[in-house]
Point group: C2
Chain length 389, copies 2
Amino acid sequence: MTSALSHLECSKCAARYDADAIAHLCACGAPLLVRYDLERAARTLTREALASREPTMWRYEELLPLRELTKRVSLHEQMTPLVRMRRVGRELGIEALFVKDESTLPTGTFKARGAAVGVSRAKELGVRAFAMPTNGNAGAAWAAYAARAGIEAHVVMPVSALEINRVECTMAGAQLTLVNGLIGDAGQIVAREVAEHGFYDASTLKEPYRIEGKKTMGLELAEQFDWNVPDVIIYPAGGGVGLIGMHKALHELQALGLIADRMPRFVAVQAEGCAPIVEAWKARRSESTPWNNAQTVAFGINVPKALGDFLVLAALYETGGAALAVSDRELLEVQSVVGAREGLFICPEGAATVAAAKRLREQCWIAAGERVVVINTGTGLKYSGVVRS
Amino acid sequence: MTSALSHLECSKCAARYDADAIAHLCACGAPLLVRYDLERAARTLTREALASREPTMWRYEELLPLRELTKRVSLHEQMTPLVRMRRVGRELGIEALFVKDESTLPTGTFKARGAAVGVSRAKELGVRAFAMPTNGNAGAAWAAYAARAGIEAHVVMPVSALEINRVECTMAGAQLTLVNGLIGDAGQIVAREVAEHGFYDASTLKEPYRIEGKKTMGLELAEQFDWNVPDVIIYPAGGGVGLIGMHKALHELQALGLIADRMPRFVAVQAEGCAPIVEAWKARRSESTPWNNAQTVAFGINVPKALGDFLVLAALYETGGAALAVSDRELLEVQSVVGAREGLFICPEGAATVAAAKRLREQCWIAAGERVVVINTGTGLKYSGVVRS
């Protein structure tokens, strides 16, 4: 029962890299993926073994990249609940509608998963300082785990990001830079900081480990559905790492024999004001084109061009999934409905997935009786300004 | 494995009431406490049985008042983590310093515990609409569970409460009234609404069940410390229900034989701007005197006179505990220290408990080597305005 970490592999050209050295992108420019010795993992990661493990994301130890789990940087990442939405489900004609509620994680969003594994692994590899661009919640999460790890965090975020994210970074003692632009502009500043100061580049997909953290959403879902995966998983796609991670997780579980070959159909939801992946999917392209004048109240998915877009699209094509965009008006309306009917204060990005479920059911893309999971990526509490607007 | 609910008992005159009828205060004016058939509970609530139960607050079913647990109103109240604070602990000279982090509960605060049990039991008793005064977080939690239950919620809160709490109530579809005054003034409006419209009075301690929810903090702590309770538990006391509940919980566990006779020393922390229980404790009185011009940034503990003050004080006296007040400056400073050293964004009320631990250690009231638990009652995310001020 230790990590079955084997090596790193390029997501495009399949080049192989040592997992115990610091690595960022492949020489070909594509993100690296973490690979495991799945045969070895299968020996100890069994349904029976899981039954007696602690109910946190670390229970899937074999499929996580930490060499020494006891030295992990943790704020206690409990498995997040799968909450049935009976009333909303009935209204939408989706009887088996569930929300995977990520708001209960440290820092209030699913970004804690990526940060917990990313920072833990960075620490294990000897990193003392990192830099990263963010739309806010990821930066806040990485700042918190950096504080816990005693690592220096340099976070660059758009000035238009949620103000609470600035407070979180400051509270965690991170170095915060605000940029008058979007996340891509923040990324350019980070690239300069990395080049000048030798910081570890913790940009999305430029380090291979946050995917492994996000992946645990998929592992938990499989287990919570008693290894009989749902029919549809709907995810709000900004950088897309959560979807890439869940898809990777389910393939690993298949290799381990823990789930059958059937995959859920993955759905990527974007906002009408920033929908590059949706456009690419409609045109059956393998990569997206940068979106101009991106804008949405669901700021977490305001990503004009994602480095991992091709992996998201590949997962959609492979699983017979879909991509669609919803309007800010639609998602804010749905947010209120979920609050009033279910008592859940979900975030705008999470609301986008419920709005998407509604549309997909209306179009009969979701059939009657199908089991549908929407991902609420974080707490609505962070967005009080947005809600009132 | 069902509730061992027996009856209701007056906390002052010991008069006995039927637990299966709606009940509020005793005829003598004091709060009612829920009593169980502890002998019956002891038969099934064992360490061994607990090992295989779900990791939520409902695992202590025998000591909860729901007749039909499967019909509970739930947003998935997972056990909250006990997080070691190594760095802060070292700085304070308290090596074994832990925070019980309640921010991971639905609605982001420990109020979810009281609301989950309170609303569940109200629903079980046939309640269709309730009214309650609140400093904000309790109202938000009760509104959320009311939405989930399909019960009408009438919430009255001071206009000076956190704005996010208004948003939460509105999002959950509650009827919200703002009052230009303190929680006592809100209470008077509630009393009128109750008299006029026949609403169920869900004011703190005017219904007996929220204590039972809050109590689970104590049950979890005992189990998380492997049934060897810590030496000191420090709690931010507004209405004081959490402290009353934890104290009650530990007595019940003693009766069940799950823990030994030794009690932790309970500490009630208040703000210097509103410290009625501290003043009463210093004078060794059994009740507090209403505080004039109450004011603190830790709004959750801005309670000039608590109905259950005598129960809080009794618990302090019985356990050899203490009460002390900290300044807003002190607690805001400590909040930043905890953020930067531990990566935890705790709320001002939670920060007050850490500030209190610091003082009590300096005064040697906490001895070297003692195991100390501070309660972080909620997420700091709700207080971004306070932090910046």
